[in-house]
Amino acid sequence: MSEPFDPADVTWTRVSPRLAAARITTTSIVFGVPLLILVVVAVLTGEPWVWLPVAVLAAVLLWLVLLIGRQVRAIGYAERADDLLVRRGIMFRELVVVPYGRMQYVDVSAGPLARKFGIAAVQLHTASPATTATIDGLAPEEAARLRERLASRGEARLAGL
């Protein structure tokens, strides 16, 4: 059952795998620090049951790392003649269609970690706050190209509210 989220005439562009690396880094920091503390506590106390939360935490971390890789591979976007498609999610799938004429403005953003990994995020804004068209994990030059492209296409298909 992949058809609804994978129309036949659309070729998806995937985002950079560096996004996965960036997200794994954040997750590792969030989970790694408590993990380390727990390990130290377990070693110092020598109580065997302290290793239980360590194992649980490690399992969760491993699962998240595997999941992030798949999640990033599931993100895709496609530029069609009149609209932009963005899809994401494996368990909870989402597909958004944004007509170029409806775009109010485009945001390009990159935090310090994202810059380190050489990725940027492009977000499209329409007059509706419900439009969740964010493409994360683009190479900076691809982000710039996409921004220019969207801007010029939006210009050509201007519409009011």
């Binding site: 609804p4 597909l95 269609v97 409806r102 109010q104 007059a127 419900a130 210009e155 519409a159 509210l161």
Partner: protein, 516 residues
């Protein structure tokens, strides 16, 4: 954020420019018009002040707010208070001081506030310490409201509010003006926004002295209007009493009685007190806002007038309504009453949302159809009555709807037969809810973007939910649990349909005709 901010934003990010009249496809001409607006200089004589009584009313508001907070605090510490000597003298002195500070500040604010209306925009200068100049383009005007809070109403003043689609706090508020001046100004703004030309003789005749207190003269007559419906007070009262709040209260009351009998302790009845306050508040708000609700149609758009203590006269120009929602709770089903709400860009920010976005607080079936007709004169079907009837009451394939498949009963066992969608030539109708019935109508040319969502359970059952993104407001249209293939096809078709509808849409300046 004003429209200018939006424009500046788009300029810095290199994105597309802000909303622009659909009819103007020539980007060069549009850019020229922008430059003209930006370069336009406001005549020094065009600047006007608010009414001189404004500071008193605004100071009173501050005073009441402070009084409420302080009073609440003091009630908690009555014992401590009694140890201070000359308690009442101190209190009165403090109150007078607060009132004076409020008055002085409001007077300063009034002194630095000025506004001007030109052919293309409304300019507002304000701010005591931090000066602000705001410019709202009239071709971006989404709605014009004349609001009269109780006190202003007593002294014959009103506030004129211009909504532009710039997000929270983007409205231009001209408070307070003389009632007549506000009416004249509203007519003028709507006429200019509609694309009518200002008769030049009138403009030149503006008095030469700086800041004339009164408007020169009515340049435009108020557009004629035709009354469409009004809500009788008895119906509003009955409808408000037959609401979830009252049902909840009744359940609570029965529960309290049972508990106090079982426990032989009357104290249990006190659990009712917060619930009582909450429902009294709810009922008062509903009645206060819906009292003497009247709707009329004029060439300037839909006119709504309502309010008991604070009266509000709204004008929503044609094509500004982004989506409509009709909803019915089970307690209204016997009478077949409907509450009708709308999305208008600019409305629905802050505490005013519930006041601004109601098209009809309690409509009979006929009135509901009239209300939908007000917004969408052409529903795009042969028999709008039959279609709406099926949409409001029907289930499955009634009225030509595409319904959710049988598999949907696993995810929504009660309401699955009501989930459905109908696409007409002009609009998309999304039907849902079996106990709490609901119908959302979105004109094709008002669709912002579209979405498809699918959870793990839905995937197993071959279902998907279809979402239409609209501007902020009470209406968030979606059709849950459609067949996945149907939903995907709908997404594709709807994108194309919205595109063609936009190309043929009414121009933003609604009096200029489609070839503007």
């Amino acid at each position: 954020m004003t429209t200018d901010d939006v424009r500046a934003n788009s300029a810095t990010t290199g994105g597309p420019t802000g909303p622009v009249p659909a009819a103007v496809t020539d980007a060069a001409a549009e850019a020229a018009a922008d430059a003209a607006v930006a370069a336009e200089r406001v005549d020094a004589t065009a600047w006007r002040r608010m009414h001189p009584v404004t500071p008193a009313i605004k100071a009173w508001k501050v005073f009441v707010a402070v009084l409420a907070i302080v009073g609440y605090q003091l009630l908690d510490n009555l014992d401590a208070l009694e140890q201070v000597r000359h308690v009442w003298l101190v209190l009165v002195a403090a109150l007078v001081a607060v009132g004076l500070v409020g008055l002085v500040y409001s007077a300063l604010a009034w002194r630095s506030t000025r506004f001007a209306v030109t052919d293309d925009a409304v300019h507002l200068r304000s701010g005591v310490l931090f000066r602000q100049q705001r410019q709202a383009r009239l071709d971006r005007l989404q709605a014009v409201d004349v609001v009269q809070p109780l006190l202003a109403r007593l002294v014959g003043l009103s506030e004129l509010k211009l909504e532009v689609a710039g997000g929270a706090g983007s409205a231009v508020s001209l408070a307070f003006l003389k009632e007549d001046d506000a009416e004249v100004l509203r007519a003028e703004l709507l006429a200019l926004a509609a694309g009518l030309q200002r008769p030049h003789a009138v403009r030149a005749e503006a008095e030469p002295e700086a800041l004339p207190a009164a408007l020169p003269r009515a340049a435009f007559a108020d557009a004629p209007e035709r009354a469409m419906y009004e809500v009788p007070m008895p119906r509003l009262l009955v409808a408000t009493l037959r609401s979830g709040a009252m049902v909840g209260l009744a359940v609570l009351a029965v529960g309290a009685v049972v508990v106090s009998i079982l426990s032989r302790d009357v104290g249990a009845a006190f659990v009712l007190v917060p619930g009582l306050f909450a429902s009294a508040g709810f009922i008062w708000t509903r009645i206060n806002q819906g009292a003497s609700f009247r709707a009329a149609l004029s060439p300037d758009g839909i006119r709504l007038r309502h309010g008991l203590t604070e009266s509000r006269a709204q004008t929503v120009p044609p094509g500004r309504v982004q989506a409509i929602r009709l909803s019915q709770s089970p307690w209204w089903r016997a009478r077949d009453w409907w509450r009708i709400e709308i999305n208008v860009a600019g409305y629905g920010h802050g505490e005013d949302q519930a006041r601004e976005t109601v098209l009809h607080p309690v409509a009979t079936l006929e009135e509901a159809m009239v209300a939908v007709w007000l917004v969408l004169p052409d529903l795009g079907v042969d028999s709008p009555q039959a279609t709406l009837d099926a949409a409001l009451h029907g289930r499955d394939q009634d009225g030509g709807f595409t319904a959710a498949p049988r598999a949907a009963r696993w995810v929504d066992p009660i309401g699955w037969r009501r989930h459905g969608v109908l696409v007409t030539e002009r609009a998309l109708l999304a039907r849902s809810g079996r106990v709490f019935r609901q119908l959302d109508v979105v004109p094709h040319e008002r669709t912002q973007s579209l979405g498809l969502a699918q959870g793990p359970l839905q995937r197993r059952l071959g279902l998907a939910s279809f979402v239409v993104h609209s501007t902020p407001g009470p209406v968030s249209p979606s059709v849950a649990h459609l067949d996945a293939k149907v939903a995907a096809a709908l997404l594709d078709e709807q994108a194309a349909r919205a595109r063609t509808a936009r190309a043929a849409a009414v121009p933003e300046q609604w009096m200029t005709g489609p070839s503007a």
